[in-house]
Point group: D2
Chain length 302, copies 4
């Protein structure tokens, strides 16, 4: 299909490569031009203005930082105005529920279908074409873009006709990850207070009940207290928890765990660690308890 693609960060670029490999025609734009030009040898056309990526596109895919950048791109930069009627706008990024609702209205007014299609998976997963894509919006539009989504993801999870539903699922998922981080942090602090290291505790639990990617991957970071460089920073973690809380507030959903998480992110950021991995909130329980880890010294005694 003819695809316009805007936003070539680590995730966006990996996805664009898979679209090219899948035989789709891409016109790409990125704030810094380098990433766009790097895709040219693979067949992409790097354009000078974002609106040119939209012109003649059957599908416009967006992978931008946040609500503000996305709105500025579609509206202020004239991207939406150039998008042909009948095209489908597929937003792969994690934005707010409110922004999804607003963008859905704005695109509909121009005869463009808006699909929210946030993805689960890190850059490596994106590069392997193995993303899980949660998609919501007009069912016919979802069918139309299925070949494009199939090129980048392992599985597509449709969740209904209102685009914001996909954003809610994504925010709920990230909230659950952050909750897992905090629960490992409190459990590890409790264990440390009795001389059991985070490594011992998490090895047992992530080999058994919690043998899931989230616990094993982050459990290792926590056991090793290895929080830099960040895979996903505290700043981004705070953003997503804030979006979940805002979506909850609009729907009158109290979320006490999310509130605890918000406070954790704020405290870690106040301590100057905003660029640490979000799993570093697991240190706060131990810090409050005055039980720094002693993994190096400890002998499991077994």
């Amino acid at each position: 299909m003819d695809v316009g693609f805007i936003g070539l960060g680590r995730m966006g670029k990996a996805i664009a490569v898979n679209l090219l490999r899948g035989g789709h025609r891409l016109r790409v734009w990125n704030r810094s031009g380098g990433a766009a030009r790097e895709l040219e040898p693979l067949g992409a056309e790097a354009v000078a203005q974002p609106a040119e990526a939209a012109a003649r596109a059957e599908v416009l895919m967006l992978m931008l930082a946040d609500d503000a950048v996305t709105r500025a791109m579609l509206i202020d930069q004239g991207v939406l105005e150039r998008l042909p009627a009948g095209a489908v706008c597929v937003n792969l990024a994690t934005i707010s529920v409110a922004a999804a609702q607003e963008l859905s209205r704005l695109t509909a007014a121009r005869g463009v279908a808006y699909l929210a299609a946030p993805v689960f998976g890190r850059p490596e997963v994106a590069a392997a074409g193995k993303l899980n894509i949660v998609v919501a919006g007009d069912a016919a539009a979802v069918e139309r873009v299925r070949p494009v989504l199939a090129a980048i993801g392992e599985r597509i999870w449709p969740v209904g006709a209102e685009p914001e539903r996909a954003n809610v699922v994504k925010l709920a998922g990230n909230f659950m990850i952050a909750s897992a981080l905090e629960s490992m942090g409190e459990a590890a602090a409790l264990a440390r207070a009795y001389g059991v290291t985070a490594r011992q505790l998490l090895e047992i639990l992530t080999s058994t009940l919690f043998a899931a990617p989230v616990y094993q991957g982050y459990g290792r970071l926590i056991a090793e207290q290895r929080y830099t460089p960040a895979g996903f920073s505290l700043t981004l973690g705070l953003k997503d928890v804030r979006l979940a809380l805002q979506a909850g507030e609009a729907g009158h959903v109290p979320m006490p765990f999310a509130s605890v998480l918000r406070d954790r992110f704020l405290e870690a950021i106040a301590a100057g660690e905003s660029d640490h991995d979000w799993s570093s909130i697991a240190e706060l329980a131990a810090r409050h308890a005055g039980v720094p880890d002693s993994a190096a010294a400890a002998d499991p005694g077994g």
Copy 2:
């Protein structure tokens, strides 16, 4: 080995059967005699008084309801007094850190080693001999009872010489399970407020990031709102969170998630649901948000 075994509830009985199958000699006692007699065809000797199970035992295994019952058995019923010096007392139950410390002192004073050996796994897992056993206490005693533990568990996780360490690991694990329940509950409430059913949400998340036994098993119960009969009741859940909080308090470990969980258990119990499965705390977020599930009616739209 010569094993005394006291406490033949669902877990205890399944474990005792595996010990018999493993060739160990068992003298068993249970409050209600039926369970003990049922083991006789398998070779166990059912005794009339708990202290008789202890007499001549190389290993005394306990699987009793709580601190009070365990202490009453060892002290008031004279079990500890009858246990031969040099024997090893292996407590498989989830008791408090404080009780583990006390029992360890009392047994040591009589020349008996005390091992805390709480297990992860439900009755089916116990029946299959696949328990994960966290064990703490004197290393030589752990070695001595290894043949017994090997007969009932898939893997033994030693965590050091202080018995209470194993209790802490067990309580930390149960706290993490309860945290997973609450995080699914809040995520599901958020999703429901936007028309996504708990079933849709949890199918996506437990097939991907959260593909772990805890999330998949309990996710199914939550998606189906199937909380009776309980696998593990709210009353037991509250008990274990309380024990985690008490252990945290003794070690000066603030645990904000554990406090939220405590309030959830109390509220559900106040609502008259004490015998529901502990996963039913996942309903409270939705109840507070006024978003009952509509799984039956919903069409994922894809």
Copy 3:
């Protein structure tokens, strides 16, 4: 002084009356014209457009509903444009820290000083000219408007040169009131569970340790479960807690009590009580505990 006054709700009107009584010349505007015309017999000039209230004013006073209305008035309605350079804009309303910072920049760019001057006190207090006024902004501008503030308040509390400081103090004060409500609610639920009525408990405590206006006034509402009509609604309470949390987030200040309050307001609003008095959050602890009050039946036993 020549005063333009925009926003004649219950508070605004009571304040405007005191300005007129104090000998100041007022040009007034309100969304619904009635309130403005009612002030004409007292000497006010009711104008047809908000910008006319600003023209020729030495002081422009605003008492509007929220950030959005205030910004729309100053910018979109052209009020700021008409305000003479050298005038002082005094915002009496509780708005967000971020909006105060923005409005301060915008007015400064036009040679107008911006003072945030939120007030503590209900309409009766305003009518009596007994408000407590927290004021922040340029010190010389504060001095200039002192005669105006003296006409409406009992005491002026300057808190520095950055306007948003006054908003922070106001939000902190409202947060403390809401915290007092919740603490009375939890205390009353605990008491009720043991047969002590909220009335008994709060009579004792608000006659002794907590003999302060906030506790006595709201304590009475809680004891009598009299939440309608609202003096200050749950919706407004949620707004102010949200503003406190947002200000906290911008300054990286975790506020666990504020997060609990947010959840309380959301739950009460989800239950359809958005127009109840904000003190009704005190019922939620009792509701969760399953202990409705029984004040009518109870006999204090003394």
Copy 4:
């Protein structure tokens, strides 16, 4: 009346002095004999064994540290055994609801009425005979001891026939004080983040809405960050919050503010400050936000 009095700490001694001044005959005992002998010149008889204080007493008054000490005194030291049938046991201390229920049963079995009569007021207030006394238990027994209570308190607040009700009121009151401390702490942290000192903020609020003894007294300590010597230590604060939570748990009352407070006390104690005044929990919000106070440098700008 003939009064036995056990427990002459700062509070107990001040109360005993007022009983002597009121013309009552006292036999006193204290763990360290000095305090008892100091009362002899005022007419008290210092006895060598606690049980001697009980013999011949019409009223036995207790002011002991906690549940364990109180129970040990009444049971193990034989005090209850020596108390004449028909006597009234008046426990002035803050003990747990569960202990009050147990002691009430034990005394009743010996024909002794048990009254819980915890007091509000610090040692100076006790010395001035101005305590507020919350009393619960058999109404006739309350009448009988009224002359004694009148000698030590300004006002008596009867709350019913079940003794534990008075303990619940006392615990609820202390919980509300601790909540006020935390709310001042979070409000002050928010203010500090915007350059308003705790002193400025609390001067405004405790002169107006929060003009109550609790806020003014503790507000001053917080504004001055003066937490030693403690009037009431963090250790005692944690004890009382724990008792409130336990009473709540027994009655299935979730108390989210109380849980936040528990975590605050634990964190401050973990930081090695267990002997600081309990108002020092107000520092934790600021510490988490990275905004130490700067009261000395600040100029209110007015």
